[in-house]
């Protein structure tokens, strides 16, 4: 099995999941309770990766991150190098591609909290951060777990976006799913089988965690 690809994939998935957690909690809260008229626009944008072919998303990200345009140049200045065909570029692409898998469970979780509980909290504390940390997050823990597991496993299994943005550079941007593709191209079916089994086991375990948790919670 390609140890380098395993390490790189899990590093990418861990980083992506952490970033997505930081984004999805406040964004999910806002989507659940916010009153802005343009909320549907944000909801549609967040959900776009669910319906968009990964290659389309990868293509536009590649164009956006190119040093030939202002946005790409600005990002290159921040990171010190162009993001296309780099690990940092993979992280950006993965965060965007897995965004709905983290945000939607959080939004549903926040929406499922009784309005009376929210009101009781608002009557006692004007600190929304405190309400979020002490009341809401403990109540939406199953949704948080779902968001983490889905974001992590979805990132581990990415192919199209990763290939478009990162190319296929061993040790830099070659993830497990691309490694499988390479192995099949090289007729290395035994190796491809081992790597595929790893991803199959991981995906099954992730779903088992989510459904096991739901079963215990009676939902």
């Amino acid at each position: 099995m390609d140890q380098q690809a395993i390490f790189l994939t899990f590093r990418l998935a861990t980083l992506t999941t952490l970033i997505l957690l930081a984004i999805s909690i406040p964004l999910g809260y806002w989507l659940a309770y916010g009153q802005a008229r343009w909320k549907p626009l944000v909801e549609a944008t967040v959900a776009l990766p669910l319906v968009l072919p990964p290659t389309v998303l990868g293509f536009y990200l590649l164009v956006l991150l190119s040093p030939r345009n202002a946005a790409g140049r600005a990002v290159s200045t921040i990171f010190g190098h162009p993001l296309a065909f780099s690990f940092a570029g993979l992280v950006v692409g993965s965060v965007i591609f897995s965004l709905p898998f983290a945000v939607q469970p959080m939004t549903s979780g926040f929406r499922s909290v009784d309005r009376e509980i929210m009101e009781a909290a608002e009557l006692l504390s004007s600190d929304r951060g405190r309400i979020l940390l002490r009341v809401l997050l403990p109540l939406v823990r199953p949704s948080l777990l779902t968001a983490v597991v889905l974001a992590f496993t979805h990132t581990v299994g990415e192919f199209g976006v990763v290939l478009m943005i990162g190319g296929n550079i061993p040790g830099v941007t070659q993830t497990l799913s691309i490694s499988i593709y390479d192995q099949v191209q090289d007729f290395a079916y035994v190796q491809a089988n081992h790597t595929s089994l790893l991803l199959l086991g991981l995906s099954f375990l992730a779903l088992l965690i989510i459904y096991g948790r739901r079963g215990r919670a009676g939902v």
Binding site: I117, E122, L123, L124, S126, P138, L139
Partner: protein, 239 residues
Amino acid sequence: MSDYLQVDVRHTLGDLSLRVSCSLSAPWTVLFGPSGAGKTSLLRVLGGLIRPDRGRVVLHGRTLVETTSGTWVRPALRAIGFVTQQPTLFPNMNVTANIAFGLSGLDQRSSGERVGQMLELFQASQLATRMPADLSGGEKQRVALARALAPEPRLLLLDEPFTGMDADLKVSILEPLTAWLAARSVPALYVSHDVAEAFQTAADVMVIDQGEIRAHGPAQAVLATRREQLLRQLGEGTG
């Protein structure tokens, strides 16, 4: 007690059009009216859970809501305690943590002392470490009252908190509650649709129907002038 609360609000909520103008001065006022008359909606406006379409709410000289100037004080900053018919405790916190939630301005020691006082007041010290799921309805309501009083509000809103309780249990909660309120001169606005209860317990009664205040004054005076109408309204409202 001089007028502590001035209300002049207009708000449309579904079929209900709330048009309330009143001033409250009695330490204990019962807001009485049939189901759907706007009792709960008025309390929610006062508590800050509903933003009225138009109007003004002033508590102890402090403007809480003024739609013309855009003044809006958040619920937790209004110094108003609110207890609903169904006590909503935070299910992930034990009784102590529930009561302490509104005491973020106090240090840990003072907060602990206040929680202890509240539990003692409602004879609930033995519940301190219990979780809400393990409490009976009456115990939950004691904790909800303790939690509402712990931040020492300047007005207490009670939305039929004793519905469904037997008389002994109700008295065992009402007695310490009224004593606590009287000792601190904290007024209460108490919602009820029980005509007997309204006129037995109230210093003042405010009758609301179809979103408007129909009568307001000392209980016996309101009862004397509107007895027949009140009983008819009650019969219609509760079916």
